[in-house]
């Protein structure tokens, strides 16, 4: 049993479990699944600066902040107790491409060569982590949700605006991964 848990979980196990978050949150307290709003609540709590968009009672959304703190703990628990065996399969094409940029470490969830404190002070690392993070925060709020709020919760409730948002998430991702990221990685 433990051995099975320690293997990476296949999509047909993980996907339904992620989907079940929707009814669980609805049934334990009428909460609509969504994660990017937590970033907004942090703004409302810490840096409202009289911006109307952040002037609301964030304490009523405390559940959302606890939920994301739980995700953080979940990550720590997995590494501590349920960790995948080191090394994993990466598509051969991707491996070849990344090797061309000098990325050869595949033991971590994120490549050390890009995501490390040392790399933060390189142009490439700075763009990917700082500019990338900014786009995630700005874009999700502008779109009114992220993969959880739109692609999972919104589509679960058959919302057309969420389908539009999800399609454009994918369009943006395809453009970045295939056209722009190769340029950034070769910096």
């Amino acid at each position: 049993m433990m051995e099975a848990i320690q293997q990476p979980w296949p999509w047909y196990v993980a996907g339904p479990l992620i989907g079940l978050t929707v009814p669980v949150l609805l049934l334990i307290g009428n909460k609509s699944f969504g994660i990017s709003s937590s970033l907004r609540h942090v703004c409302a709590a810490c840096i409202p600066c009289r911006i109307p968009f952040f002037q609301y009672d964030w304490k009523k959304e405390l559940w959302n902040l606890l939920f994301v703190f739980g995700i953080f703990l979940g990550g720590a628990i997995t590494v501590g107790l349920l960790s995948n065996p080191p090394g994993f399969q990466v598509d051969a094409e991707l491996l070849k491409e990344l090797s061309g940029y000098g990325h050869v470490d595949y033991d971590n969830l994120v490549p050390e060569a890009i995501f490390s404190w040392r790399s933060l002070f390189t142009l490439r690392g700075f763009i990917i982590m700082v500019a990338g993070g900014f786009l995630v925060g700005f874009g999700t709020r502008y779109a009114g949700g992220c993969t959880s709020g739109h692609a999972i919760m919104g589509l679960s409730n058959l919302q057309l605006p969420s389908l539009v948002a999800t399609l454009f998430f994918m369009v943006g991702g395809f453009i970045m991964a295939n056209l722009v990221l190769p340029l950034i990685l070769s910096l």
Partner: protein, 166 residues
């Protein structure tokens, strides 16, 4: 400007452009929120075990090199659709006996422009907001920088939102 205290105004402001705001009218002690911590923890474990928080898996998805992410998102959506349909069909109540309420979304151009912008960031960082928290938990401490940058991005959106096309 003083913050409005009336409950309707508060819901109105919080729901603005957000999928997930508190729909419940019930008041609870703070510790009722602990159950969301537990659900978040389980969710975080699934994210890591499924390698959804893995930068390489996101790259494979956007390069059409692996079915994994499509399988995860696809089955998650189908599970969600069936669950919400069942809840509506059988009028399932919450554990507090409240009817389940889900807000409808109205279309605005933000879903196009914002969606594109988020997509660009998603493929760069290999993370959407959920995985950011999970990645930090797994020990990639530098992702704190990405998360803080995302908070700044959200804040800047709030600052300029009146000037943006919606």
């Amino acid at each position: 400007m003083k913050q409005q205290d009336s409950p309707d105004k508060s819901v109105d402001a919080r729901s603005q452009d957000a999928m997930c705001f508190n729909q419940s009218a019930l008041k609870h002690k703070w510790y009722h929120n602990v159950k969301y911590l537990v659900v978040g923890m389980l969710f975080g474990i699934v994210l890591v075990k499924a390698e959804v928080v893995n930068w390489f898996r996101i790259q494979e998805m956007f390069r059409l090199q692996s079915f994994h992410m499509y399988g995860v998102i696809g089955t998650a959506v189908v599970t969600g659709i069936v669950s919400v349909w069942l809840i509506k069909k059988f009028n399932v109540k919450t554990i507090y006996g409240e009817p389940v309420k889900i807000a409808s979304k109205t279309f605005n151009k933000g879903q196009i422009y914002g969606g594109l912008i988020f997509g660009l960031g998603w493929a760069m960082t290999g993370a959407c907001p959920g995985p950011l928290f999970a990645q930090i938990g797994t020990g990639s401490t530098v992702v704190v920088v990405t998360l803080l940058s995302a908070v700044v991005g959200t804040w800047v959106y709030g600052l300029v939102r009146e000037k943006l096309p919606h």
